[in-house]
Symmetry: C3
C-alpha cells in the first residue's frame, strides 16, 4: 500500500519535473503543424505602354539606359515593379476580389529569372479582415518558392509563418497569376 | 481518509495534465496586452525641386514618363520615396529628435492614396538606444492604419508587435507628420 | 507520517503552481543565448558603367537629375541598388559560393553614409539549404550594425534573430565585402 502511494508520488513528481523541463525547452518541442492555412491567388497585369486601363502594376525603376515601359531583355534584371493586385479565392481573375496584394518586387539576376519580393495582403471580406505581411526571395523558375510571413494585423494579429508561391499562369510578359499557400505557425 | 488522499492525487494529476496541455497550446492562451508601448512622431519633408535645404525625403523612382521632382497626379501612383525623418516624442517638428525614421514608401494605387512602407526607427537617446523595424500597407485615407513591427535590436532586441499610424498633420504635398502608436507584444 | 505526506503534497502542489506561473510568463524568462550562429561573407561589385561582366549589383533608382550609372556625390543619397551577391564562408571573393544574397539597399542620408537594407540569403550547399530574410538600418560608418532576421525557410524554418554587419573590405566605390554574424534566437 505504502509502496503504491510512493510510486504515484514519484510518477507525479517526474511528470511535474518533465513539464518544468518542457517549459524551458519548449522551442525545440514545437511541432510544424500550422495553426491556420489559406490558399489564395493574386493576379498581376503589368503595364507595357499600351494596356493602361486594366493594369495592376508598373515598372518604376531600372538600370541607367533601360526604359521603364517594358521589362528588360536580360531576364528583366534591375526592373523594380510596384503592384496592387486583386486577391481571389480561386484562380479566376474575374472572381470577386477579397482584398489586394500591395508591395514591390525586383528582378535581381541577369542569367535566370529571380526576384525579391516584399508585400502585404490587405484582406477585406466577410471571412477575413486584416493584413498579412510577406518578404523573401522568389526564384521564379522553381515550381514552388518559400517566403516568410513576417507579421500581421487584425484577424492575423502577430502571425508568422511560411508562404509557398506557385506560378499558376503566365501570359506573355503582361499577365501572371500566383497561387499562395499560406501556412501560419504562430497564431495569437 | 483514503478517499480524501485519492482525491488530492487526482487533483494534482489533473493539474499536471492540464498544464502539460497548456504548454503545448500556450500560443492560444497568450494575452493581447502589450509588454511595452511607445507613442512617437516622425516628420517627412519631401523635396519638391525648390526646398532642398530642409528636406528629409526624396522621390527616387516613378513610372516611365513621370519625373521624380514632384509627386505625380494620379494619387502619386508609382512614386517611390526614400526618407530619413526626425523622430520626436511630441508633435513639434522643432523638438529635439530622439532618432531617425529611415526607409522607403511607395504609392501603389491610381484611384486612392495608398502606400506600402518598410522602414526602421533608429533611436539614440537617453531613454532608448536601438532599432525597431516595420513593414506593412498604409491606406493613407483611413484614420488609423496597422502595420507590423517585424524585429528590433538593442533595447528592442527581438521585439515584435503592431504599430498604428495616424496622419497627424498634412501641409500641401510637402510636409506630413505621422503619429505612431507602437505596441510591442514580444519583449525579450 | 501523515505530516510528511502532506509536505510532499504541498511541495508537488507548489511545484505545479509555479510551473503554471512559469508558462504564462515564459517570455520574460527567455535567455539571450543563440540557438544557432553563422558567420558568412558577401561580396558586392557595383556596376559603374565599365565593369559590366563581373558586377553583382546595379543602381536602379535615384533622385531626378542624378544618373544611375555611378553613385551620387552626396553620400550616394537616394541611390537604390539591387544586388545578387555571392555568399562565402570565408573572406575570399573566389571561394566557392554557398548561396546568394539577394535584395535591395538604399542610401538615405546626404550628410553621412547610411543605408536601409532588405534582403534574403538563399543558401544552397551541403551544409545549409534554405533562406534567411533580413531587414534593418545600416549606418555604414559604424564598425558594427545590427539588423533583424525577420524569418526563414527550409533549414531556417520560422527562425528569428539579429545579424551584425561589418564592412570587411572596401575598394573604391566598386567593391565591398560585408561580414555577417548571424545569431538566431528562435529555432524550430
Amino acid at each position: 500500500m505504502e509502496t503504491r502511494r510512493l510510486a504515484i508520488f514519484l510518477f507525479l513528481l517526474s511528470l511535474c519535473l518533465s513539464q518544468s523541463w518542457g517549459t524551458q525547452n519548449y522551442k525545440k518541442l514545437r511541432g510544424r503543424k500550422p495553426c491556420k492555412t489559406l490558399v489564395l491567388y493574386f493576379h498581376d497585369i503589368i503595364f507595357n505602354g499600351k494596356n493602361a486601363k486594366n493594369t495592376t502594376s508598373s515598372i518604376i525603376a531600372s538600370p541607367e539606359g533601360a526604359n521603364r515601359t517594358i521589362l528588360s531583355g536580360q531576364d528583366h534584371f534591375g526592373d523594380l515593379v510596384v503592384f496592387n493586385d486583386p486577391i481571389t479565392i480561386d484562380n479566376n481573375l474575374h472572381s470577386e476580389p477579397i482584398g489586394r496584394a500591395q508591395g514591390i518586387y525586383v528582378y535581381d539576376n541577369k542569367d535566370v529569372f529571380t526576384a525579391w519580393l516584399a508585400f502585404s495582403f490587405v484582406l477585406n471580406s466577410t471571412d477575413y479582415m486584416g493584413t498579412i505581411n510577406f518578404a523573401g526571395a522568389d526564384p521564379l523558375m522553381n515550381k514552388t518558392r518559400d517566403i516568410s510571413v513576417i507579421g500581421g494585423t487584425g484577424d492575423f494579429f502577430m502571425t508568422r509563418g511560411v508562404a509557398t508561391l506557385m506560378t499558376d499562369a503566365l501570359e506573355g510578359e503582361v499577365y501572371f497569376r500566383l497561387r499562395v499557400d499560406i501556412k501560419l505557425y504562430e497564431c495569437w
